[in-house]
């Protein structure tokens, strides 16, 4: 099992956070993991992404130009990363902010209205969690229970935040599972 994943969006949408949660959950699942932010003179509103590698062997390159999966939360990110996803891979598309459909037909596309779903659940800021849930549902890479544990640890003592995020994760997970294929290279 070896998976290279890219999570991308605007600065402030929480793509670095969902990347960390995914890496942390992967570590708890006993996998080798890396989390690498595309660091630079980024700022709120600019584009932002990170690469997470989950593997059952020592991770070589922590960056990739051929991800097995991508989660894209805004238009610039789908334009940049859709062409890179490996055939058979997974692309989670935040349809709340991306007004065009994915064009690839050789990958599994998971459309999810992340902002809208998060808004309905109580706070649009948790859109990142809906998208992460959708990715987990479609890929089956890491158990959502582990991510729920990691959320509880990360936001210990802030019960409302934990609850909201866990709800959003589950809503995304159900949508992802409905689209689930087998992931390439798994």
């Amino acid at each position: 099992m070896h998976n290279e994943l890219i999570l991308a969006g605007f600065g402030g949408q929480g793509v670095l956070l969902i990347g960390k949660l995914l890496a942390y959950a992967g570590m708890k699942a006993g996998l080798e993991v890396t989390w690498m932010p595309a660091y630079g003179p980024e700022m709120r509103g600019g584009t932002c992404n990170c690469t997470v590698v989950l593997s059952d062997r020592r991770v070589g390159s922590p960056v990739t130009n051929r991800p097995h999966g991508a989660v894209v939360l805004n238009l610039q990110s789908i334009d940049k990363f859709e062409p890179l996803v490996r055939p058979g891979g997974i692309l989670v598309v935040n349809t709340s902010l991306i007004n065009r459909p994915a064009v690839r037909t050789d990958i599994t596309v998971v459309p999810v209205a992340a902002n809208q779903i998060a808004q309905e659940a109580g706070n649009a800021k948790a859109a990142n969690m809906v998208a992460l849930g959708a990715f987990l549902g479609a890929s089956g890479l890491v158990s959502p229970d582990l991510v729920r544990d990691v959320l509880a640890e990360t936001f210990a003592g802030r019960q409302k935040i934990v609850q909201l995020n866990q709800v959003c994760l589950s809503k995304g997970y159900d949508i992802g599972q409905a689209c689930a294929p087998a992931m390439a290279g798994r």
């Binding site: 690498m36 932010p37 390159s61 130009n65």
Partner: protein, 353 residues
């Protein structure tokens, strides 16, 4: 201790604390700001002190004072800041003071950019400051190694009474990986430093100095330093990957590029190409003999760096023309992909040796 997910920079900071280091002097610069940030929060928790110096020049001289008084101390910076410290580092080497200096390299020259680079190799391994001196230089390739080598760096600095440099790059510093801290030392448990200036009570005064105005004395000092640098050869260390079947192409790379090369090698091996990796862990002393032996078992050598070809000089010296040596580098903060490096290997493998 359970594994934690940490950035390379944070792991270096925590490793310093676990090594009994209680003093940090530094000045902010990207991409290593997570080290001073971490130390500023962590050191006060353990009775230590974080000092943001007025400049890197000042920070390197604060190290001189603290190390001279026998304290474990360290600094971190990135390329332009390390250049500013070079005067102080030369003095530290001349006065034989044990300190740890972390360079999380960014692209240069000048202010350059903030993205990863390996273009300070020559500065780190060949002197950098003035005078005949060397630092031990350790190059981690993972976050775990960044922690382990930082812990070892403090011991090596004390053992040789010499500055030790951890040479990483922006990628190692910013990346998160699981890490565990395998040792814990309290400052009180560290060996005595009988040469340190601790207040000459009941003993003759100690002098920490790098000034020798008599040429005869300075020559003896230089010769003694030279013997010490040769003795450091005992610390030489390297790692190999998939070299057991005498590869057609031997990639030589360190740090970040070495781990990218592992991915290239796995992919090339699946295609049936015989490719292996030689990775120096110590950059000074350089694993010259081991590299020469590994290179002689390969048909060709490909040196890969995030520079225009700096370690290349040491590889060429080790191989001494016995095997063809080629080079591939990306610069300016660009990082080669595993596919890109693999393409270079495929091109080379197609050339008759």
């Amino acid at each position: 201790m359970a594994k934690k997910l940490m950035k390379g920079c944070e792991a270096i900071g925590e490793a310093a604390v676990q090594s009994g280091c209680r003093l940090f002097f530094g000045y902010p610069i990207t991409p290593q700001n997570e080290i001073p940030e971490y130390m500023s929060g962590r050191l006060p928790q353990v009775g230590g002190m974080f000092v943001q110096a007025e400049s890197e020049v000042a920070a390197s001289n604060m190290l001189y004072g603290a190390a001279g008084a026998g304290c474990r101390c360290f600094t971190s910076s990135s390329s332009p800041g390390i250049s500013l410290m070079m005067e102080g580092i030369s003095y530290l080497a001349g006065a034989e003071l044990p300190v740890v200096i972390v360079n999380i390299m960014r692209a240069g020259p000048g202010l350059g950019g903030i993205l990863p680079s390996q273009s300070d190799y020559l500065q780190a391994t060949k002197g950098g400051g003035h005078g005949d001196y060397r630092m031990l230089v350790l190059a981690p390739s993972t976050v775990q190694e960044a922690a382990d080598l930082t812990m070892e760096a403090f011991d090596l600095a004390d053992k040789y009474r010499n500055p030790v440099m951890i040479l990483g790059d922006g990628l190692i510093g910013q990346m998160m990986e699981p890490v565990e801290f395998k040792r814990h030392v309290e400052p009180e448990e560290l060996p005595e430093k009988p040469w340190a200036t601790t207040g000459a009570v009941g003993r003759a005064p100690n002098i920490v100095n790098s000034l020798y105005l008599k040429a005869e004395d300075l020559e003896q000092h230089n010769l003694a330093l030279g013997r010490k640098y040769r003795a450091m050869e005992a610390e030489v260390r390297h790692e190999t990957y998939r070299t057991e079947d005498d590869p057609d192409v031997l990639i030589v790379a360190y740090g970040t590029v070495a781990r990218i090369a592992r991915t290239s090698i796995d992919n090339l091996r699946e295609k049936g190409l015989k490719v292996g990796l030689f990775r120096p862990v110590t950059l000074f002393p350089y694993p010259t003999a081991a590299l020469a032996a590994a290179a002689l078992r390969a048909k060709r050598v490909l040196v890969a760096e995030l520079s225009m070809g700096q370690m290349l000089e040491d590889v060429r010296a080790a191989v001494a023309g016995r095997v063809p040596v080629d080079f591939y580098g990306r610069v300016g903060g660009m990082v080669m992909s595993a596919d890109e490096l693999a393409e270079q290997v495929e091109k080379l493998a197609a050339v008759p040796a």
